[in-house]
Symmetry: C2
Subunit: 266 residues, 2 copies
């Protein structure tokens, strides 16, 4: 999906919500375990319920991988089920030496046909560039993450420039706002504003709203640009809004609530 296509979807729907499919076999409603593929059954109903309110879906690959090859089959079915006008994100945090990153790119862009994949930049240029040569596909590079451990290394500073700022700056040597996005946690809204200055036209994938405590207003205030430029991810607070048979309706209600909040910013 191109940036123009994504922006068009966002404005048509007045939403920049991404629903995180962190589908955990131990957390989904018990009655689904009687189905042949409980993970896919859960995702299908979540997608049906939330599609009116979001523009993107983000399967968290760890959750599928933990089930072995069966989990990858559930992922494949999920990807086939998501309509093509939704932006899809493989939240995989991959990155390795060139020949290996090339393999990861084939996996997610070709085998599973994702629009994008999250990338860990620690290993530098040759770990990122193999993801940038696929037309209309995206590398979403970790800049400042939403978790507690983001304090450990991402703020290390040389000549006044923090690691996450160096990551954003360097990324523009490798690609541009048509093939790179950045992960910027909702839990650091002011730093998000600083990253916006470094990357005025780029999209940011913003996790941390909901279960992790981030604030939508603050994110929009510091991060929004003319094209919105934000994809706000919410996973647990939407998909596990209820653990009963009404889980899909409850997820729809949570997604609708976020959508209503977002529509105010258009």
């Amino acid at each position: 999906m191109t940036k123009a296509e994504l922006v068009k979807e966002i404005f048509a729907k007045q939403s920049f919500l991404c629903v995180g499919l962190d589908t955990d076999i131990h957390k989904i409603p018990k009655f689904l375990l009687d189905f042949e593929d409980p993970i896919f059954e859960f995702n299908k109903r979540i997608i049906d319920a939330t599609a009116p309110y979001c523009v993107a879906y983000k399967p968290n690959i760890a959750f599928y991988e933990s089930l072995g090859s069966k989990g990858w089959d559930s992922l494949e079915k999920t990807m086939d089920y998501i309509p093509t006008n939704f932006f899809t994100i493989a939240d995989a945090k991959r990155g390795d030496i060139g020949n290996t990153s090339e393999m990861y790119a084939r996996t997610f862009f070709q085998t599973y046909n994702f629009d994008s994949i999250t990338i860990n930049p620690y290993m530098g240029v040759d770990s990122v560039t193999p993801f940038l040569s696929f037309p209309d596909k995206w590398a979403i590079i970790l800049a400042l993450t939403s978790n507690k451990g983001s304090q450990d290394f991402q703020h290390i500073s040389e000549n006044g420039e923090k690691l996450y700022e160096a990551v954003v700056r360097k990324s523009f040597d490798w690609g541009n706002e048509e093939n790179i996005m950045f992960v910027t946690g909702a839990t650091h809204p002011k730093e998000l504003g600083a990253i916006r200055k470094l990357a005025p036209k780029s999209f940011f994938l913003v996790p941390g709203i909901g279960a992790q405590g981030g604030d939508l207003d603050a994110v929009v205030q510091h991060g929004k640009n003319d094209e919105i430029g934000l994809l706000l991810n919410s996973a647990r607070s939407v998909i596990y809004a209820s653990s009963n048979e009404d889980f899909a309706e409850a997820a729809a209600a949570e997604a609708r609530k976020l959508h209503e909040q977002m529509a105010r910013y258009f």
Copy 2:
């Protein structure tokens, strides 16, 4: 596997060679494609041929993942085939927020029964600690990698301490030399010596010998400790030593050559 058990294997075999199973369906000898599971068939013969000369095997997960669920089946069969006295490394470069790293740990330590997994430290404490609570299992944390892109961020320095040094120092707040190893590329032997000073009793997984041009003598000179403390990985130069029917014999010859060089250091 405990550290004591690993050290015992290393001294018994006079080898600290790890064979990297970067098994690429496009690179294995063509005649194997007639087998039901060409990837497993290749690995089985490589393992049989190289077992006398090495102490560890390191499947590069990207290569299996790129084949979808079939690739994960090949990985599972490979893991079942590797004898239990070999140290096994899932080269996966994983790391994410706590609940997700927990999933990755389950995948590789439980579903596939690896002894260890390579971890990217960019996201800090909660991305690493979920891997440290499994008895006799290991997190192998990226410190200074062997690739060109290691220059981009890993040398960023604050108060005279480089990022990769900060990673090693911080890791000892989270674990110790019984559950953490470090990746230190063979292409930077002097820096490897500096990391040895920070982590005198730790094992280092050293990639970059062979196809990437690292030098064994220099690595041993700067990195060896009383327990050897090194696992030297070689992948492409061993497993693709020949692309013909004699590939297993050729791999054995390459592994034997490395083993002979290593035996001199005992």
